[in-house]
Symmetry: C2
Subunit: 616 residues, 2 copies
């Protein structure tokens, strides 16, 4: 744009401007290597030759109505409050339009149709093996799977709507569909990258392939609406440790404002699928608080019954304590509800009270059964007089097992909020902690955190971080009562899924360290999953699970889940600019730090293997 400006407005001679711009490029990107400079120079040259006039030929914008910022079908709050902010008129809103109790409605991001993808994935049903890896890795929940009974579908199926017979024999007679939200997709291409299914007849054709959005827009918009109208698969009948089944759970985190190809949001989305209808989130400040609750829209959504995550963002430094507080309050209410139930037992039904109090709620079926009981309880309570019945009615919902998650990035978990996080480990309450580990302060612009690996270049570590990465998982394991998992969805997706399920099932503190590729790594985000895989294959990132319940039966709680490294660490490091730039800026330092990093990885692998082999 700068080049175009100087070409159109000759405030100084163009050649002089171009020389100055190119000198600035050399100065700015010199450390990042010849290739970076070449690409920038090429952009300058291309810009000068591609400025051309668009003849308007008498066309004007007059009389063309501005399309509405949100659909007419949107709820009143979205139309009257969110839409004005979306179009930049937030200052015109009166204070009286704000939610009076301070809470902010969720499930609103789906009304903000951004249409930013140049290309979107297109499904080839006959090639697809229905593994659902694509829907799992999608950072924006904009490619979805559903299995439905065609007899229960509404009859207005659009002509371009595609479906297939399920590969899963248990679902015979139903239909499988993979549908893209064309207006919400960011076009990152992670879905096509992860797709393992290739056409046998047509070279390079996968089960999903990126195609230009514009020609598909109208049809896919209709298909998407139709897809949403199809009934959801019964959650209680899904085997949630199998991706192809679990992915039928409706995401309750959709169309966030995270980067195209974000490595964090697939984990958050997974969380929302697994536990979203009974999920409470305490979110630390950082990327996840920005894309998680960026005014005016909110990506946390609701299911058809109106259930969805309750989300809150406290301070950067106290998020663990904040989440613990949520847990303590819930525990107190559960105790109180139990006392009230026992006291009201005769007015209700002994059988119901016993069932409510004894419910194990170990799985989706158990949760669903308890929901039924609570509904019955509420019906009965309506007919009981007195203060106890009123009090119980007010808190009856806590009898359905809630899932409390404390979310944040590595800057929070390893650094600023670590003191509190450590305290939460020690207290032993049933909270789940998800660390979206990008190994750097991403949201604030790439500062080094204690998670940053040795040799990586970051702000405050311009000459490569000299110290090794803090081993947060090991420090949590020291407590003995903390479930710890280290996962990387791009390396082993079913391991990530299993860890989430185990962490939530464990009735004490759980910590998941989730490797998240990031723009701050200096990578092509469309290949982020390959980078994750390489991080694990090279030993940069370990996959493991530490399950304290195993210690009870004499088993070693620690299991290393990734294979011994197949490739030298440097091969991974050279895939990412955060490391690569150091080889250009300070080759000698890079050599030494990369060697040390290789030692770190070997030492750590050895230590974990050693620990996992301790008996009794």
């Amino acid at each position: 744009m700068q080049v175009c400006f100087f070409k159109l407005c000759p405030v100084i001679p163009l050649e002089q401007a171009l020389t100055a711009i190119k000198d600035a490029i050399k100065k700015t990107y010199g450390k990042k290597g010849e290739e970076m400079i070449r690409m920038n120079m090429a952009a300058v040259d291309a810009a000068t030759s591609r400025v051309f006039e668009v003849p308007l030929a008498g066309k004007t914008a007059d009389g063309q109505p501005m399309p509405p910022p949100v659909s007419e079908k949107a709820p009143a709050f979205v139309r009257d409050f969110i839409a004005p902010i979306l179009v930049g008129c937030g200052d015109d809103l009166p204070v009286s339009a704000m939610p009076k109790d301070g809470t902010f409605p969720t499930d609103t991001a789906r009304w903000e149709k951004r249409n930013i993808a140049l290309e979107i994935p297109v499904w080839e049903p006959q090639v697809c093996i229905q593994c659902c890896k694509c829907t799992m890795v999608c950072p924006h929940a904009s490619i979805r799977a559903k299995v439905f009974d065609p007899a229960k579908a509404n009859g207005n199926q659009p002509a371009s709507f595609k479906s297939a017979d399920p590969k899963n024999k248990e679902w015979a007679g139903l239909k499988f569909v993979l549908q893209v939200a064309a207006e919400d997709c960011t076009g990152c291409g992670l879905c096509t990258q992860v797709c393992p299914a290739k056409s046998k007849s047509e070279a390079k054709l996968k089960a999903i392939n990126m195609r230009p959005q514009l020609p598909l827009l109208e049809a896919e918009r209709t298909n998407w609406d139709y897809f949403l109208s199809l009934p959801e698969f019964d959650r209680a009948r899904l085997k949630i440790t199998t991706i192809r089944e679990q992915q039928l759970q409706r995401p309750l985190f959709e169309f966030s404002g995270s980067c195209a190809g974000c490595g964090e949001t697939p984990y958050v989305k997974l969380l929302s699928q697994l536990f979203g209808d009974r999920l409470l989130i305490a979110n630390a400040t950082g990327c996840s608080s920005i894309y998680g609750g960026n005014l005016p829209t909110t990506p946390y959504a609701k299911d058809l019954a109106g259930r969805g995550p309750t989300w809150n963002n406290s301070l950067f430094e106290d998020n663990a304590e904040f989440g613990l507080g949520i847990r303590l309050a819930l525990d107190q209410q559960i105790v109180q509800a139990g006392e009230l139930l026992r006291r009201l037992s005769s007015s209700l039904s002994d059988q119901l009270v016993t069932a409510l109090l004894g419910a194990e709620q170990k799985d989706e079926a158990g949760i669903a059964a308890q929901r039924e009981r609570v509904a019955e309880l509420k019906r009965k309570l309506a007919g009981v007089e007195g203060a106890d019945a009123k009090s119980l009615l007010a808190i009856a919902d806590v009898l359905v097992r809630k899932s409390v998650w404390i979310l944040g990035g590595d800057g929070w978990a390893y650094d600023i909020g670590y003191g509190g996080l450590d305290h939460v480990f020690s207290v032993g309450r049933d909270v789940n902690i998800l660390v979206l580990d990008t190994e750097v302060y991403s949201n604030t612009g790439g500062q080094m955190s204690k998670s940053t690996p040795r040799g990586a270049v970051a702000k405050f570590a311009a000459a490569g971080k000299p110290a090794r990465k803090k081993d947060l998982g090991l420090m949590a394991m020291n407590y003995g009562n903390v479930y710890v998992a280290s996962v990387a969805m791009g390396a082993k997706d079913d391991h990530a899924l299993r860890s989430f399920v185990e962490a939530e099932a464990y009735r004490g503190p759980s910590l998941i360290l989730a490797y998240s590729h990031c723009i701050a790594h200096g990578i092509d985000m469309g290949h982020g999953l390959q980078n994750q895989k390489m991080a694990v294959d090279s030993g940069h990132w370990l996959l493991y699970r530490y399950d304290p319940t195993k210690a009870g039966s004499g088993e070693n709680p620690l299991k290393v889940d990734s294979a011994p490294p197949k490739t030298p660490l440097e091969e991974f490091m050279m895939m990412e600019n955060r490391f690569k730039v150091l080889t250009r800026a300070k080759p000698e330092v890079a050599k030494r730090l990369f060697q040390d990093a290789q030692m770190d990885a070997q030492y750590r692998r050895k230590l974990y293997e050693h620990l996992s082999k301790q008996e009794g």
Copy 2:
């Protein structure tokens, strides 16, 4: 006193008062067991029968001058500023009397003669083996050893002054003396408890024995002054890893206001002996900040050259960062001094500059040599013109290696200041961290910390702490670049000494976890060292050292220094009321928690042994 009051002032009938007092005793101490109640009842009964009139027989206090609060020999600041505060007239002091630069003079506690000991230790030179264990464990630095050349002593040796020929043959011709500061001793008796030397002729006679203070006061006051006048042994000629030699180092922490028998202050005193003349302390809030800097007097002292610890207390929560800041400032000044030296090299002496910059300063002799060089530098700088010379003169003292220590209790290190402490570990700078671990918030009244062991009763853990003690040492070791030692002076004094020396020598972060018996443990403080020994013998407290420098040579950095437990943990627990009370208040809970605690100890020992055996 309450009983005496009711006996003397019959506002209600005495019998009624006694019944009420005894009922209150049963209520208050019921949980602490029969023995506790019996002792209180006995005190009540003894008090009623021991109230008697003291006939004054015409004596009055008139004409008896009040002794001065401090000696006339005290410096003006002590006489004019500290003394009025000591006698409760601090409010009368004008603001102008305050130190104008905000610093507060050290070396003032020695003027506050408290005379609180009923009994003081008396030395038997012919029984003594000169091991100096007594001076090492003295919490108040009020028993001291010196080896001196009688030819260089002043001639006014008091008649009652005792000395002996040194047992150490290298000191032939010199004299060994053990001297008590009768007015500063608190009478705790730790010195006599630790004394291993017994008379062969006289039963129960040790090398030191407790005797009533009053008859000894005058003579010992004179002896103490004479002792102070004797020349100090040359620090550079002491083998500091041997207690009997190291203890000749003059304590620069004396007569603090800590409890009689305190388990923390012997460590602080040791620190002041080893490194006091070049020591900078950042002190967290807690007992150590109260007895370390309790207005109006200061126990941190100075040697004959006027050198002593620089001490500061910041907030509870930021002490680690505060100490790191001191280190960073020093490092910056060292760089600056180096640059100035190089720049001024031609005006000074190339040889001197080279020697100053290359000095290793690995031991006391090296430090002494560098001090000489700095003195020479200062003399030379006085004759050099220009701003550089002035700047260098101002910071020349940083060329003598400083010792930066970050001090605090477990409440600080395990809980409130842990986030910062962890950060300091990660940064890798040369600071030393001393945690005075009483396993409970001592100064604030006995609240549970994350250091509190499973089964101990504390505030917020009235039913015994259910979770195991946080393993701070292991968490520090995870960084790989932190020297970590876990010590207990009462169990293995030379191990504690060696750990202090190694920690200071290591040019990165060092952490010493120092087991400190405490009144909060509910023990007889005079037997605190036996409790420490039992803590180690039972496996409650591990002794170990983790030295990162060993990893470089392929050795395992971790060495477990205590033998496998000899006695069941419960034997130790039943020695201390913090555990014992639980067996009375909640016997079932106690049984379970004590069993779990035994498992904790076994598991931890096994883990440490396993880690210490990892190869390569």
